[in-house]
Subunit: 239 residues, 2 copies
DNA sequence: GTATACACGATTGTATCCAATCCTGATATT
DNA sequence: AATATCAGGATTGGATACAATCGTGTATAC
């Protein structure tokens, strides 16, 4: 039903619909950005990307535009697109917004705790722990993000799900900019706590837990580190 | 700084930047939709629009795409674009999301109650009352929406401002679909109450006020039947 | 040696073009 | 009479072409 490429990155609805070519590209670029294979500030020329994906600039532009509207890439007039570099203020705003929303949606998750969407959370935690044990760092980060998105989806509210998905993607980008290795490691494996609190009817405690959880992630964003090397898109997206 | 056409509809930052042609079109269409001059379900053929705005289809497509990502227009493959017709579920989700977010952001507004953005709220209320006295109905509705967006902006968080702006635009569309004249009239002129509560440090009361306020709007659309010339059979016969 | 002016290359912005798809109406068949 | 089939027109999807703009590098003037 929904056509949000951002949400579809995290949740894979059973009926996988026929995604158009440009949405596939959106997803691949999105994945590359949150995986930190495309660093903030990286230029995204339409020609090279079109060549890499074997489509014309028209399709690439459509994809870049969608990403731009999510603030994941920035487009300046006559200067092209590049992976966004949110300022410190914007970074703070993203995390504040996440705290505000994700804390507030917990009661709704509690209401829906018997839904299928909620059960999915346990699977995600299990996968997350497995990835942690096996040292699959990249995968663990990915699963951690998916957990937060799934929590929003578990309210049964798709609009909220999309909003949180967008904020989560932005968070990955921000951590890629300002974060250290501890930024992503700090929240490993403790998501079980939250589920326990919810299932034992401790909604208020679950909310404070989430508040601290997100604050902890935000606090780790302190040191700057910039990058800006050109990337070989062909080898990255070799069809 | 920000490039959100949706937010720019409501707040006019002092430095009005050079907006590109397609963003002007986005704004005009957006305005037409929330003003109910373009009813839900109205087809939006690229040729006619291009002719009307005196640009090529390329530019129109870009504009339509941006609106589609905001869920204000729906685009089906090879079937073109039309003004969105959110189903009852989606409509409910939008208002639930608004309640959740707008209630939760009130403490942040309280913190920022000495900012310029907050002072703007008083101006809006004054204009709103003036419009009500003079019977300028359309304008009053517009100002009511701007108040809610400005409230989010008054948190100092632009990300939240955009989120709320998007939800507010969608609300206008939904009211246009399912609402009656009472839907928009019910909240007239009472925004002063909220400001009073905030300024007298009654944050919790302000929150319950907002909760009831948004619930009241939602209830008017929840009970009424479909309006408009062409009927939304999907929501009527619940697919 | 420094700074300004200009020209060239690269990249984006917009328009137009052609193929693919869908809807409508008409015709044919049972 | 009802359903199925098929052609025509209209509209979109995607690629290409041309114009506009920006950045860079070089040359020239002081």
């Amino acid at each position: 039903m929904t056509h949000s490429p951002n949400l579809s990155l995290y949740v894979t609805p059973p009926g996988s619909k026929a995604t158009s070519r440009d949405e596939q590209i959106v997803r691949e670029l999105l994945q590359a950005i949150v995986d930190r294979r495309l660093r903030p500030g990286t230029r995204l020329p339409e020609d090279s990307l079109g060549e890499a994906f074997k489509v014309s600039r028209t399709t690439i532009r459509k994809a870049l535009q969608k990403l731009a509207q999510q603030r994941l890439v920035s487009m300046e007039h006559n200067r092209g697109a590049r992976v966004a570099q949110p300022g410190r203020k914007e970074a703070a705003d993203v995390f504040k917004a996440r705290r505000l929303i994700e804390v507030a949606l917990i009661p709704a998750v509690y209401e829906n705790r018997h839904s299928d969407a909620y059960k999915e959370l346990h699977d995600l935690v299990a996968q997350e722990k497995a990835a942690h044990r096996e040292g699959k760092f990249q995968e663990e980060v990915q699963l951690s993000a998916r957990f937060h998105v799934q929590l929003a989806v578990a309210t049964g509210n798709l609009i909220l799900g999309e909003q949180v998905a967008q904020l989560t993607s932005l968070s990955s980008l921000i951590i890629s900019l300002y974060g250290t290795s501890s930024s992503v490691g700090c929240d490993c494996g403790e998501h079980t706590e939250l589920l326990k609190l919810i299932e034992s009817n401790q909604v208020a405690e679950a909310q404070t837990w989430m508040d601290h959880h997100l604050d902890a992630i935000y606090q780790t964003i302190n040191t700057t580190q910039d990058s800006g090397d050109d990337v070989d898109f062909k080898s990255m997206f070799s069809a």
